[in-house]
Every structure is written in C-alpha cells, then in structure tokens.
C-alpha cells in the first residue's frame, strides 16, 4: 500500500471532520450572512443588508465591539502576570510542586462554578473583595452593578485564572538551556540582563503562542458574561460573542448572526496577521540561530 493511501486512512476522521464541521460550515455561514434567516421560514437573499445593518447599528454592534476592544487590555496584563508567576515558580526551592498546583487551581474551576463564586466575591455588601477593600480603608465599588466597574471586575476574575498560560510558560522555562545562563554569568550579566537577553528571547515562541490564543479567546469571550451580567449593566459587558449569541438564539436572527460571525472571522484573521507580522521582530526560534 502506498504511503499516501496509508496517510489518507490515518487522516480520514480528521479530514471528514474538517469538511463537515469546519469548511462546510464556514461556507454556509458566508451564504447565510447574505440572507434574512429567522429559522422558522427558509432563508431569503438580502445581499449586503445584514452588513449594512451591523455597521450602522450604534445601539448594539459598535458598543459590543468597543467593549471587546476594552477586554484586549487584559492581554498584556495576563501576559506579564503569567510570566512573572512562571519565573517565580521556576526557582529551585522546596515545595514548588505545591505552589504550582495552587496557582493552577483556578484554571480548573468550571466556568459556571467560577461565575457563581465571583458573583459572590464581587458582592458589593458581603463579598470578600469589598470586605478586604474596606478593611484597608479603600473605596469599595459596586463592581458588576456599575457600568464603570463591571469590566475591571471581569478582568480581575480572569487574571485569577492566569494559571493556564502560566503552565505553558513554565514548561518552556524548563527547556531553556542552563549553560546560556552560566555563560552570561561569566560575562557579568545581572538578573535583568539575563531576563532580557536569554529568558525572554527563549520564551518568545511561547509568548507568541499564548498571545495568539489570547486574541482568539478575547473575541470569543462568552460564558462568564452570559451567566453573570447578561451584558449589563447598561450594556457595559455586552461583548461581541454574547451579542452574536443573542441575535442567533434569542432573537432568532440567524442571517444577521452569521454576518457577525464573518465580521469576527475577518477581525480575528486581521489581528492574528498583525501578531504574526510583528513576530518576525521579536520571536526567536532555536533552529534559526544555528
């Protein structure tokens, strides 16, 4: 049997899935985005109407995009926090396994459970966060009940779950060749210089990887706000994916939701492309050096 035929057999499940659950649906989404489709009656061709409606919709579409853009502030934050924790956990000290587990634990909590937990933590009256703030004589905001504080509340909650990307940084740190550090030390490099010239370049492929996943995840942010705020108060947590879900499954405007999905697709490709393009400047691959 030829190797190509064998390969085809091994790849068959994935290839079939690719057609059924990826390529096919993308094309159907594109088609439906040019139709008015309200599920109960067949789709009706309307050309660019859905897109026109979206781009002139200052009530929902633009605010949801703006909110999502705000959420992108979290990316650099979680990058720095995740990396800092990984650096801290990469030291050779006793009991490290325990500390690693502790920082990773929040990432294991099911989203529904963490949504419940954070609703309670952020409770303006009896939540732990405001109790702590009051104990420190700091102002205690109403968090999810305030359009000003709802987004910071969500960012705070997400940072708690930074352990997922931390684990990946940690794995990468353990792969950085130790002799680089020894050589640098002989040359008299201080801690900051070692971080800047050895650690960060060595980690750059992983930072890149986490950044791409972060971009995609941010655009798709859904469950937490669906459960905790339903987009409120005053649409301050109406993020793009939540708005898309509402159009599709609450207002049954599948055509419009498909147009939103395509806008999302183009935005994701655009953002990913930007990260890729910039990566030539700051991502170093081991293989390329030699």
């Amino acid at each position: 049997m030829g190797e190509s035929r064998t390969a085809l057999l091994f790849l068959a499940p994935w290839l079939l899935g690719l057609v059924l659950f990826t390529v096919g649906p993308i094309l159907v989404t594109l088609f439906l985005s040019f139709t008015d489709y309200r599920v109960l009656s067949p789709p009706r061709w309307v050309g660019l109407d859905n897109y026109k409606e979206l781009f002139t919709d200052t009530e929902t579409f633009w605010p949801s995009l703006g909110n999502t853009a705000f959420l992108f502030l979290e990316l650099p934050l979680s990058l720095v926090v995740g990396l800092a924790l990984a650096l801290l956990l990469n030291q050779k000290l006793k009991g490290m396994a325990l500390f690693r587990t502790i920082f990773y634990l929040p990432s294991l909590v099911p989203t529904v459970a963490s949504a419940l937990l954070w609703l309670w933590l952020l409770n303006p009256e009896h939540g732990l966060i405001n109790e702590a703030l009051r104990a420190l004589h700091l102002p205690a905001p109403t968090w999810l009940a305030s359009p000003l504080w709802s987004k910071p509340a969500i960012i705070l909650m997400d940072l708690w779950g930074v352990g997922g990307s931390m684990v990946i940084y940690l794995a990468a740190l353990q792969g950085v060749p130790q002799d680089y550090y020894e050589a640098a030390e002989l040359d008299g490099a201080n801690g900051w210089q070692r971080l800047r010239h050895i650690t960060l370049p060595s980690l750059s492929p992983v930072i890149f990887f986490n950044l791409i996943l972060g971009v995609i995840g941010t655009f798709q942010y859904f469950t937490q706000t669906f459960l905790m705020t339903k987009g409120g108060p005053d649409k301050s947590t109406l993020f793009y994916a939540l708005s898309l879900y509402q159009n599709a499954f609450e207002f049954f405007r599948m055509g419009l939701a498909c147009a939103m999905a395509w806008v999302l697709f183009v935005l994701t490709i655009g953002a990913t492309w930007l990260v890729f393009k910039s990566s030539a400047r700051w991502v170093y691959y081991e293989g390329e050096k030699g």
């Binding site: 390969a7 649906p25 993308i26 439906l32 294991l108 099911p110 989203t111 669906f226 697709f265």
Partner: protein
C-alpha cells in the same frame, strides 16, 4: 534571599487561594452568618448539612452520570481520532503533508462562532438537537490542538524504533498501535485531560443543544441555580465546591504526567 522568595510565594498563594477559602467557608455557614458584617473564615456553627441540602436541590447524581458519560466518549473519541492523524503528520511522507498540517494549525485559530450556527442547523436538521450526539460525535473527528500536541510528541520518539518494527513485518497501523501509542502515554494523558476538562466544563454546547432537564450536564444544571436561588449563597457555594473538587482530584492524580506531556511534546515551541 530564600526567605524573601518564600514570603512572596506564600503571599501570592494566599491571594489565589482566598476565593476558594471564601467559597468553602461560605458553603459551611448558616444563612444568617452569610450576611454578617465581618468576615468569619471558620464559621461557627459549621453547617455540613448545606452539602446534602445543596445537591438535593437538583438531580445532582443524574447530572453527574450524564456528564461522565459525555466526558468518557469525548475523551475516547478525541484520543483515538487525534492520535491517528498525528501519526500521519509525524511519520508518513505524502505530498500534501505540509499544506494539510498548516491548514490544521490554521483551524486552531478559527473562532468557534464561525462554524457554530451552521453546525447547529446541521444537527437540528439531523434531528440530533435535544440529544447528546452533538456534544459527543464531533470529538471522533479529531481535535486540531490535540493532533498538534501528539504530533510533536511522536516526533520525539526515535525513528529507529519504527524502522525496527517495520523490518519485523509491522504495518503502519501496527507501528502506530504497538510502538508509538504505548510510548506516548504522557502525551495521551495530557490530551485526555484536556478533553475531559473541556467536556466537564463545557457550557455553550449543552446550552444550545439540550432542552430537556433530564439530559442536562452539571455545568448546565448549575446554571439554573443562578437567579433562582440567588439569596442562598451558602447552598450555591456548596454546589460550586462539589463540582470543582472532582476536577482538582483528577488533576492531582495526573499532574506529573500532565506536566511531562507538555514539556516533552515540545509545546514550548
């Protein structure tokens, strides 16, 4: 120096643990204690009864059974289909390998929303909406992230082992099944853990496809607590604890293999 490092680690750990402790502590309080002004970490009295009360609120064991069933099949499907594809990408030479591999990586970056609606319409047309099939069947068609992870791992296994097996008359499937799969256990465990966590915590899938309360998963069943029982924070926190603890136990059991799987599979880049 060592002392300062420990102090920083302990302080940060407490910060990360505090929400859990708050959850535990609340889950053991009487309703009156919850709304008192000052924080009481160890409640008195400790109300263990909140736990049986909380899970008596909804068909807890049925939801556990539903979730475990979906998880088991999802894990099986993901591991089988992804490792097959990973073998082809790691070990077989064929013309379209590079473009197909790139295509697969590209699908990792695809927003789920782009395929969500037609997939929903497809399953509805098949009459699968309102059943577990939409949550299970796609797992048998390979998961790009898992394929990538396993492929990276297979590449670290010496080619000589495959060649030796081939000289002994092994087919590709034989090499895959008897040589690579047994050696790839850490990576397979990592993929299985990710698949398990994904299925156990999935919310949007069950939300869209399940309509009958008897079919609900834990994540979806828990949602009904929000809003309906909002003032009973002690019971809510007991329920959250109950669905979180199994995951922590599973993680502790596989932790070593899991970290090894990530390191060895070269996910580090």
């Amino acid at each position: 120096m060592r002392g300062i490092r420990y102090a920083v680690l302990v302080a940060l750990s407490l910060l990360f643990l505090a929400p859990f402790l708050f959850m535990l502590s609340t889950s053991l309080k009487t309703p009156e204690k919850i709304f008192t002004a000052t924080m009481e970490w160890i409640p008195s009295p400790v109300v263990w009864k909140n736990y049986p009360d909380a899970i008596a609120r909804f068909p807890f064991w049925r939801y556990v059974g539903n979730t475990l069933f979906i998880c088991a099949l999802t894990v099986l499907g993901t591991v089988l289909s992804s490792s097959l594809a990973a073998y082809a990408f790691a070990r077989l030479r064929f013309k379209a390998r590079e473009p197909l591999f790139f295509l697969m990586l590209a699908t990792i970056m695809l927003p789920a929303q782009v395929t969500l609606l037609p997939t929903f319409l497809l399953f509805r047309a098949l009459g699968w909406s309102g059943s577990w099939l939409p949550l299970i069947v796609p797992a048998f068609f390979g998961n790009p992230f898992s394929i990538f992870l396993l492929r990276q791992f297979f590449l670290t296994i010496p080619q000589e082992l495959s060649d030796a097996a081939r000289l002994d008359g092994c087919t590709d499937f034989g090499i895959f099944w008897r040589v690579l799969i047994p050696l790839a256990r850490p990576a397979l465990a990592t993929v299985a853990l990710f698949a398990f966590l994904g299925a156990w915590t999935d919310f949007q899938g069950p939300l869209i496809y399940l309509h009958d309360e008897s079919q609900y998963t834990l994540a979806l069943g828990l949602q009904s607590f929000l809003g309906r029982h909002e003032s009973q924070w002690n019971l809510l926190m007991a329920t959250s604890t109950v669905i979180t603890v199994p995951l922590i136990i599973v993680f502790l059991l596989v932790q070593k293999t899991f970290v090894k799987g990530i390191v060895l599979s070269g996910l580090k880049g």
